[in-house]
């Protein structure tokens, strides 16, 4: 060795592997406006499609007259349900086992429902055409309140289901009932409540909201009549699933469907499902023989393509008087709107809501969820959340605070007392999950120490006293939240989408010069996969991340994968990457042994190559092994160096975290100020701390929005009153608080690199932290639970109702 020989640290740093804050490769194009999003795609002869939508939430469609529309210059076709019936596409299956109208078939069931699809030479002409389509409606009584869905005199919404007493998930109790899903031990839980020293009961609502990525849902469909092939460019979080769904419903051979997800401008769950726009654009392309683009506008996005939450959770906890929980009983009324278009794994009508026991050692629990129809947009999707986990976390974290209040205990202390202990992992929850790992006490105590929690409580007590003395009009709340997520869907034993197991995949192909390409079943929408996936490979096989190109989103070249949502990419595809890389490494070891003329067992991997044990100067770099793979492999071995892995995870992963929100509220105006927000996340092994921190910032901002005002609200007649960014709360840089992040590391024991997923944790843990802060602020005035969202007006109203404002 001489002075020019790089040190171990230098060799490791050169890889830019796991644990390093590698700058993103995506940013070079995005900062220069050179991304390639769906609306940037312009194909020769491309047409534009746009929807005629219903102004009514519930009405019969008596007549659709397109004669005037077809006279508009540039308008080529108007597609209605009658057109779609000729190709058997007037209805489409949903991921939740329901069916959904693609275009209004006899009736409309929510405001802004798709009624007709106008195809024209450009988007302006399409809009002109829309204005000339005459639709005659006969308005019907709307059903808006989910609590009235199953009244005996409730209007019949879904006439297509008349006489069907069984749905996709079992018996239906009423014409507006979708499913009942029940889990846990009812008798044991009822018994726990009978002998409980203390119980609490509260109806905790998680309002309807919307993921609303900055880029709306859109697609370009191009049908090639000669080849019989359909190419779809779309904002798809799960392109392979879209290909299979299109093949099944359009009866096109799957090899003749090419689905391409280019750059995606945010997803947050909005871009998992299939929407009428995709079907109509595809049919329009088949009918016209030309490419057809469909681009949603923001109002359409907020009011028609999916929503999230709308869970109304009646929650009860049984406990001893010294604060040990003994039972949990939850009933959820789930408002799915007009069609159950919930984007959950097929067997899970309420997603993974049965994570609702949270981070606590409940000896018994029972959960029942009733899904109902209303005259609202269909859904709901998992908005930055692993399938109803955020609802579950909000439910239990609010309920624990309500219990603490009843017991006159500190909420943090109550949590510490009931946490699952480190030695209990793997832990079997009362509602059926096996938590893989966790160290909750350490995370909670770190949060309490870092934030000087005890001092904050003291300050709060002083402020409350001052408020009572009339010296201040400001009240202070501490929002504690400790969440356990369940992500990484999922093991084939319990997770599938339309029968396809929820594995994920990676194919790595190394080139002779020591570079390579990794192709994935996932699809980034901003998570930075092109950067982080290469980091995993860099560490696993010792090739610099800069030499690995990551490609996603082309179903012709990528191995089949289930896509990116539910924080599943790192837990599932991240594992597939490591496993594929290890196959590469195993073959590389054989090649190195042959070239170094030793037995494979005499080699050890050393950062970026293989070294003969005990003879450190005999070394072959991975770069040289790549070259050798193409010219001098051992006799009998096939040349080349590539591998594919389809990873079926043995279990979910269970990220967790401890959050604290410190908030001050002026009772006279309801104006709040988030003084401090601390978020400690444990997502196991950390691949790129910079990206993790960015994900946490973004998730917290969404949680802030949801908890403090972001709502899809309907008036009593079924009109959406939050249909644009004017009314739908989108925090800007001014409202958004400063985020403080921290971490502990408890690796997943079953994941090849110990990673757990993080993108959704801050949304899951953040919402209860904000809501608990507001509720904690008001609690000393006698309130027990104030429903979200906590905007200024509602805060003022709460203060007034509690007598704090004259």
């Amino acid at each position: 060795m001489n002075d020019l020989t790089p040190t171990r640290e230098q060799r490791e740093a050169a890889l830019e592997g796991m644990g390093c804050k590698r700058k993103r490769v995506e940013d070079i194009r995005f900062t220069q406006g050179k991304g390639n999003y769906v609306d940037d795609i312009k194909l020769p002869g491309m047409l534009h499609g746009d929807f005629v939508r219903s102004p009514h939430p519930h009405a019969r469609v008596k007549k659709i007259d397109d004669s005037e529309a077809l006279k508009v210059p540039g308008v080529l076709a108007v597609i209605t349900a009658e057109t779609l019936k000729t190709v058997n596409l007037a209805w489409m299956p949903t991921l939740a086992g329901d069916v959904q109208m693609v275009l209004a078939d006899g009736k409309v069931l929510f405001q802004n429902q798709e009624v007709a699809f106008v195809v024209a030479t450009d988007r302006y002409a399409a809009d002109d055409g829309i204005n000339k389509v005459m639709v005659e409606y006969e308005p019907l009584a709307p059903l808006v309140d989910p609590f009235k869905s199953m009244d005996s005199d409730a209007p019949v919404l879904r006439e297509d289901l008349a006489g069907k007493t069984t749905g996709a998930h079992g018996p239906r109790k009423h014409h507006n009932h979708i499913f009942e899903w029940s889990v846990g031990d009812r008798e044991l839980t009822d018994a726990a409540f009978k002998k409980a020293e203390v119980t609490i009961k509260e109806m905790i609502s998680y309002h309807r909201t919307h993921p609303s990525p900055l880029e709306t849902c859109q697609c370009v469909c191009a049908f090639d009549k000669i080849k019989g092939e359909l190419t779809i460019y779309g904002t798809f979080q799960a392109p392979h699933v879209i290909r299979t769904v299109v093949s099944l419903i359009a009866k096109l051979p799957e090899q003749k469907i090419h689905v391409i997800s280019p750059d995606i401008g945010g997803g947050f769950g909005n871009k998992v499902g299939a929407y009428p726009g995709y079907i109509c654009a595809a049919v329009a392309s088949i009918v016209t023989g030309k490419p057809v683009k469909w681009v949603e506008d923001r109002i359409e996005n907020l009011t028609a393509t999916s929503f999230a939450r709308d869970y109304h959770m009646t929650t009860e906890i049984a406990a001893t008087k010294d604060g040990k929980v003994t039972g949990l009983r939850v009933h959820v009324l789930a408002d799915h709107g007009a069609f159950d278009a919930c984007a959950d794994p097929s067997k899970w009508p309420a997603g993974f809501f049965n994570i609702v026991t949270g981070s606590y050692d409940f000896p018994t629990a029972h959960l029942a969820v009733d899904g109902v129809y209303t005259n609202k947009a269909p859904g709901g999707v998992a908005y930055r959340c692993s399938f109803r986990v955020t609802e579950a976390a909000y439910c239990i974290e609010r309920a624990m605070d309500i219990l603490a209040q009843k017991l006159n205990m500190d909420p943090a202390e109550l949590r510490l007392k009931n946490f699952i202990k480190p030695e209990q992992f793997p832990y079997h929850s009362a509602l059926g999950w096996e938590y893989d790992s966790g160290d909750y006490h350490t995370a909670m105590r770190k949060m309490m120490e870092t934030t000087s929690y005890a001092a904050l409580r003291k300050e709060q007590a002083d402020k409350r006293a001052a408020f009572k003395r009339g010296e201040t009009r400001e009240i202070m709340g501490l929002g504690v939240s400790f969440f356990t997520e369940i992500v990484g869907a999922g093991p084939s034993k319990n997770c599938d989408i339309l029968g396809i197991a929820m594995f994920d995949s990676c194919e790595i192909r190394m080139h002779p010069t020591g570079a390579g390409i990794a192709r994935m079943g996932t699809k980034s929408q901003g998570q930075g996969h092109e950067t982080t996936w290469a980091q995993i490979i860099a560490t696993e096989i010792g090739i610099p991340a800069d030499n690995i190109m990551v490609e996603e989103g082309n179903t012709d070249t990528a191995p089949y994968g289930l896509g990116t949502y539910g924080s599943r990419s790192t837990p599932v595809a991240g594992a597939a990457i490591a496993m594929a890389a290890r196959k590469i490494k195993a073959k590389a070891q054989m090649i190195a042994a042959y070239k170094l003329e030793v037995h494979e067992d005499d080699l050890e991997f050393d950062i970026d190559g293989f070294r003969v044990k005990g003879l450190p100067e005999r070394y072959m770099s991975m770069k040289d092994i790549c070259w050798a793979a193409y010219n001098s492999v051992p006799p009998g071995m096939e040349p080349g160096l590539e591998a594919v892995s389809y990873y079926d995870p043995p279990n979910m992963t269970y990220p967790f975290g401890a959050y604290l929100c410190v908030m001050d509220i002026d009772v006279d105006t309801g104006v709040y100020k988030v003084r401090r927000f601390y978020a400690l996340d444990d997502c196991g092994t950390r691949i790129n701390p910079m990206i993790i921190e960015g994900q946490v910032h973004g998730g917290l901002t969404e949680a802030f929005a949801i908890a403090m005002g972001q709502e899809i609200r309907y008036d009593e007649t079924g009109n959406v009153v939050t249909g644009s960014f004017m009314d739908f709360f989108m925090p800007t840089a001014v409202e958004t608080p400063h985020w403080e992040t921290d971490f502990t590391v408890t690796p997943s024991p079953h994941h090849p690199i110990g990673a757990k997923g993080v993108g959704e944790s801050p949304n899951v843990g953040g919402v209860p932290a904000f809501s608990n802060a507001v509720n904690d602020a008001f609690s000393f005035l006698g309130s027990r639970h104030i429903q979200m969202p906590h905007d200024f007006w509602r805060n003022w109203k709460a203060a007034k109702e509690l007598g704090a404002v004259a």
Partner: protein
């Protein structure tokens, strides 16, 4: 519909085109000029993804007709890089500080920040937050965007960039 002839300067080049009076500037830029870096996020002037610089002002191009831009001097995100093709201080700042994720708001954000730094080369954090409040980002929570602009400000002013302590 009768078309109107428009001419303007975009990223230093004289351009022209025939547009309907109702054609939005953003559609002229994206579709006629094929400069697709300028994005459309809301069509109601709230999100700022369509921000371009017109005659020294940040303008949301989804709420302006192409005919209104007759004769103006426009810079889009495609005109933001240094003359030699390297990333500008702002573009570099966004990358170094992880000021973007999905990249959809980024062009508007960079174009807006460009004007902000022209008007105020050393803005405080509050001035930056207020200065970009017409631009919505759904991914980053803004904290790293603020840092990206601070990074660019330091670089432009020739001083060392120091991240504020958490």
């Amino acid at each position: 519909m009768a078309k109107t002839h428009v001419t303007m300067k975009v990223n230093g080049a004289e351009v022209e085109g025939l547009v309907e009076p109702r054609t939005l500037l953003v559609h002229f830029i994206r579709e006629n000029l094929q400069l697709t870096g300028t994005h459309i996020g809301c069509e109601t002037t709230h999100c700022g993804a369509c921000t371009v610089d017109i005659d020294g002002m940040s303008v949301k191009s989804c709420t302006m007709f192409a005919v209104q831009a007759q004769g103006s001097d426009i810079t889009t995100v495609e005109g933001m890089a240094n003359a030699d093709g390297t990333l500008s201080a702002l573009q570099e700042g966004f990358r170094m500080m992880h000021g973007l994720q999905c990249g959809f708001c980024t062009p508007g954000m960079i174009v807006r920040a460009h004007r902000l730094l022209k008007e105020n080369p050393s803005p405080s954090e509050q001035e930056i937050r207020m200065g970009i409040s017409g631009n919505i980002c759904r991914c980053t929570g803004y904290q790293n965007i603020v840092k990206a602009i601070q990074y660019a400000s330091a670089k432009i002013n020739g001083v060392e960039f120091r991240e504020a302590a958490e």
